[in-house]
């Protein structure tokens, strides 16, 4: 079965289908001060199709889309829109040509209504009054977006905000939509609803460029797939003739790793016990409420939940960045509720932070100083009150080798490494101090597939040796695959639990919207949720 064209042929391939080309990128090269640049990229998007652009994080997808959206200029190569060569010097030029971008992080003003958000910056098109409202309603109905113009954006859930973003782009006359990782913030049911919307767009003759690294989604929604690896397009594929495995191999040049853990290593010796933890915002609203759980030696407890439901606060409370208003945290047989962060870390709490740039690294410091960060009082970094640079440097070399951190040396700044290598350094650092309890918040976010497998291996290995892990992840496959126990967090409460051996991502997704509580049982006939779009409205997004 030959589904993969060589990268030089797509332009010809497009013509065979006999459909007009919406966007054609040819020979795009972008030399960029960084690790990955775009190199000789070819991408052809036909009119009225969903074209997926897949690749690992850091493969160069975002750079390419920034070029297409006019945010960056290519050094070489041409962009053609509807057969016409163009050159963009700003996003405004791209918008005029009908290119619209839905960013991964929404650009909406919470305290304005949907109507106000949509017309903001484009007041000249249809005014700001009745005419604009009519246009919004018309677009919403035509593409099945279900957008209500007069609601405040802050009242909307994540999925609804995303639809507002899409409408915003359509309102400006876009005929080609770029969606940058649109499913990253959605639960599975919301993803299905989004895909329905995309099919509507496609039926109306619009083109969609769908950026993702989730292969399952790509195969279900795309008409055509272009794979990008190490900054260059390595092939195109048609979903009907491709399996996820083939795509994955194309993406990384090797097989996709799976996060499944073999046999249970859970013991009955509790390592960390949290009892009725409560944390309130200054206004009195509970960010965490009645949180209780116990993690034993050799156990991975996975926390599932839509972002912004209390995960960050839970991690902060456990590492000591915030102190709980009430409740008790015990590490083995010691109560640690009032301990400061440093003492907790010294006593064996490892921490892989959610945002490694903000909480895990000193970006402009050399790698060996980053190896000291968080463990400055411990060997081999210090002897008494004195630092031990030699010891730290030696140990950094060991970590770099053992954890396969790709770097030319330990004196380069952390900022010059790619995200995956930064993460491997952090994992190596935390594991080097033999933690009893590891807080792993999104341990493989933004990490390429190879590094992901390595990080999973390290967590599994430590778990065999009796490590207790709290795993927080937005990647449901990772959660289900690595965890021994699953809990669902919703609105600051642990609302449901599940057995990772039997649960499916869809069932977990339902609970993440707050629709299910208690113990989740796997049902043999997985019912499709009756109204995906209503359940999609419910998760509150407090992050913005």
């Amino acid at each position: 079965m030959c589904v993969i064209n060589a990268s030089s042929s797509p332009p010809a391939g497009a013509a065979v289908h006999g459909q007009a080309t919406a966007v054609e990128l040819a020979g795009i090269t972008k030399r960029f001060p960084g690790v990955v640049a775009n190199h000789d990229i070819h991408l052809t998007v036909r009119k009225g199709t969903v074209h997926a652009l897949v690749g690992e994080n850091g493969a160069g997808k975002s750079t390419l889309m920034k070029i297409l959206y006019g945010m960056q200029k290519p050094d070489e190569g041409t962009i053609a829109i509807h057969g016409e060569k163009v050159s963009f010097s700003s996003p405004a030029d791209a918008i005029v040509r009908g290119i619209g971008m839905v960013h991964q992080h929404f650009m909406l003003a919470d305290n304005l209504t949907v109507l106000e958000n949509v017309v903001l910056g484009s007041e000249k098109l249809y005014g700001i009054g009745a005419k604009a409202r009519r246009k919004i309603k018309e677009l919403s109905e035509r593409y099945g977006l279900g957008v209500r113009p007069d609601v405040l954006v802050e009242e909307l859930g994540v999925a609804a905000r995303q639809r507002v973003e899409i409408l915003k782009v359509l309102y400006r006359g876009a005929t080609t939509l770029i969606l940058d990782e649109p499913t990253a913030v959605l639960v599975p049911q919301e993803v299905d609803a989004l895909f329905d919307n995309l099919r509507e767009l496609k039926a109306e003759g619009l083109s969609v460029i769908f950026i993702s690294h989730k292969l399952g989604e790509v195969l279900s929604v795309a008409d055509e797939i272009t794979v990008i690896r190490r900054g260059t397009t390595v092939g195109t594929a048609v979903p009907a003739e491709t399996t996820p495995r083939q795509l994955a191999e194309l993406m990384v040049g090797s097989e996709l790793p799976t996060p499944e853990t073999a046999e249970s290593t859970v013991t009955d010796r509790p390592v960390i016990a949290v009892d009725k933890l409560r944390l309130a915002a200054p206004g009195g609203k509970a960010l965490l409420d009645d949180i209780s759980f116990t993690i034993h030696e050799g156990e991975v407890l996975g926390i599932a939940g839509v972002e912004g439901n209390g995960q960050t606060e839970l991690v902060d409370a456990l590492i000591g960045l915030r102190h709980a208003d009430s409740g008790v945290i015990r590490l083995a047989d010691q109560e640690i509720t009032s301990w400061a962060t440093r003492k907790r870390r010294e006593q064996g709490i490892g921490y892989i932070p959610e945002d490694r740039h903000r909480h895990g690294l000193l970006l402009e410091a050399p790698l060996w100083e980053n190896r000291i960060l968080g463990h400055v009082t411990e060997r081999p970094n210090a002897k008494g009150v004195w630092l031990d640079p030699k010891g730290a440097q030696e140990d950094t070399r060991r970590i770099v080798t053992e954890y396969d951190v790709r770097t030319p040396g330990i004196d380069v700044t952390a900022a010059s490494l790619s995200g995956g290598n930064q993460q491997k350094l952090i994992v190596g650092r935390e594991m080097s101090h033999k933690p009893r309890f590891l807080i792993a918040a999104h341990p493989t976010r933004g990490v390429d597939v190879g590094a992901q497998a390595a990080i999973w291996d390290h967590i599994r290995e430590a778990r065999r040796e009796g490590l207790a892990v709290l795993l927080i992840s937005a990647d449901l496959d990772e959660l289900i695959g690595l965890s021994d126990t699953l809990r669902v967090i919703y609105d600051g409460k642990l609302v449901a639990d599940a057995d990772p051996a039997t649960i499916t991502p869809e069932e977990l997704g339902t609970a993440m919207t707050g629709a299910a509580e208690g113990h989740l049982e796997h049902e043999e006939t997985p019912e499709t949720p009756a109204d995906a779009s209503t359940s999609a409205e419910s998760p509150e997004d407090e992050a913005r």
């Binding site: 960084g34 895990g360 690294l361 970006l363 790709r406 004196d411």
Partner: protein, 373 residues
């Protein structure tokens, strides 16, 4: 990885060199614009630096600049802007002068007493700003500016004859200090005397480097400056670190006026040098908060100060030196940021290039890495 070390030296030197070159050129333009010879003033000032008596003046002046700049730099290292060094050192010098005039212990006790008086006065004054920041969230910039004004008023108050003041002619002084508190200078013959406390400045510089680079505390302080959030997650208590850094900064600031007080004037009078704390900000900037860099910057500043009066005798305005100091600070800010960004980008590019070439430390997967290209 010697290559990257050389790189770091290059980056460290590039910023100041560019800044100084730009400042010289701009000053020359100012001279041309005012119809003067753009080269001769510099030639005159360079010539001054060759005279041994001027050299002694430069070293003495630089010692005070150096201590003040160290005080500012400690704050800078953790993103605290202690503008209050000026008030702190003046108040500290006055308190030391007052104690020195009233207490009369043997020299072995008197000198430490005076040093400690200055240290604690400086730390107390900056500590007020620190406490305000930690407990009430008051910006240390605002608080220290206010405290400068208060310090000035306090000094005027203490000069009153019924408080600690002694009138000498038209001059306000705090009275002559007892001789046990005087610190003998290093005799340079006809050139004059170098203040004994120049050695203190050198020791402070060495101590500063050791504390910052070789102690856990210094690491925490630098981490707090580099990323407050990462430092907090690593276990640094941000509030305690702010307060400690403020106290340390003030303690060092308190010593800035002592070389001249204990080595020369022996009283705190209207003639006592002011503004050293503000100059220290520019010097710390130019010296990139590094003890060696600050030393060069302090000497440069002192040279501009002490060599410029000669210009008046040759028909130039000595204010050229002040213009130049201002231009240096301006160019420093711009050139350092530019060099920093350039350096980061350059290193990212080099790391990318080295990785692509397969130069990976502990290369397990080198072949895989190269195969992708």
């Amino acid at each position: 990885m010697k290559k990257f070390d050389k790189e770091r030296v290059l980056l460290a030197v590039a910023g100041p060199v560019i800044a100084l070159a730009v400042a010289f050129v701009l000053s020359a333009i100012v001279l041309i614009a005012s119809g003067k010879n753009p080269v001769e003033p510099f030639a005159l000032m360079f010539e001054q630096a060759g005279f041994s008596d001027i050299q002694v003046l430069i070293v003495n002046q630089a010692s005070m600049y150096y201590i003040a700049a160290l005080a500012v730099a400690i704050g800078f290292r953790m993103n605290l802007f202690n503008i209050g060094v000026d008030g702190q050192y003046q108040l500290a010098a006055m308190m030391a002068a007052v104690v020195g005039a009233h207490a009369n212990l043997p020299a072995a006790l008197q000198v430490p007493l005076l040093l400690l008086t200055a240290v604690f006065t400086g730390a107390f004054w900056s500590g007020i700003a620190g406490v305000l920041k930690v407990t009430r969230g008051v910006s240390e910039v605002v608080a220290t500016i206010m405290l400068n004004a208060i310090a000035t008023s306090l000094i005027v108050y203490m000069w009153k004859p019924d408080v600690f003041g002694v009138k000498v002619g038209n001059n306000n002084t705090t009275g002559e200090m007892h001789e046990s508190g005087w610190i003998p200078g290093i005799d340079m013959g006809a050139a004059g005397e170098i203040y004994g406390l120049v050695i203190l400045a050198v020791l402070l510089g060495i101590g500063y480097w050791i504390v910052l680079n070789r102690t856990r505390f210094g690491f925490d302080l630098r981490a707090s400056g580099a990323s407050e959030s990462a430092a907090a997650a690593s276990g640094v208590s941000p509030k305690r670190m702010v307060l400690t850094a403020m106290l340390l900064s003030g303690a060092i600031a308190g010593l800035a006026g002592l070389p001249i007080l204990l080595g020369d004037t022996h009283t705190y009078s209207l003639n006592f040098p002011t503004g050293i704390g503000f100059l220290g900000i520019g010097i710390a900037l130019l010296g990139r908060n590094s003890p060696v860099g600050i030393a060069f910057a302090a000497l440069l500043w002192a040279w501009l100060d002490k060599a410029s009066p000669e210009l008046d005798f040759h028909g130039y305005d000595k204010e050229i030196a002040v213009i130049m100091q201002g231009l240096i600070v301006l160019s420093v800010v711009v050139s350092y940021e530019a060099v920093r960004e350039w350096g980061l980008r350059r290193q990212q590019r080099r790391v990318g290039a080295e990785l692509a070439a397969g130069h990976v430390l502990g290369a397990n997967n080198t072949t895989k890495e190269v195969a992708g290209r």
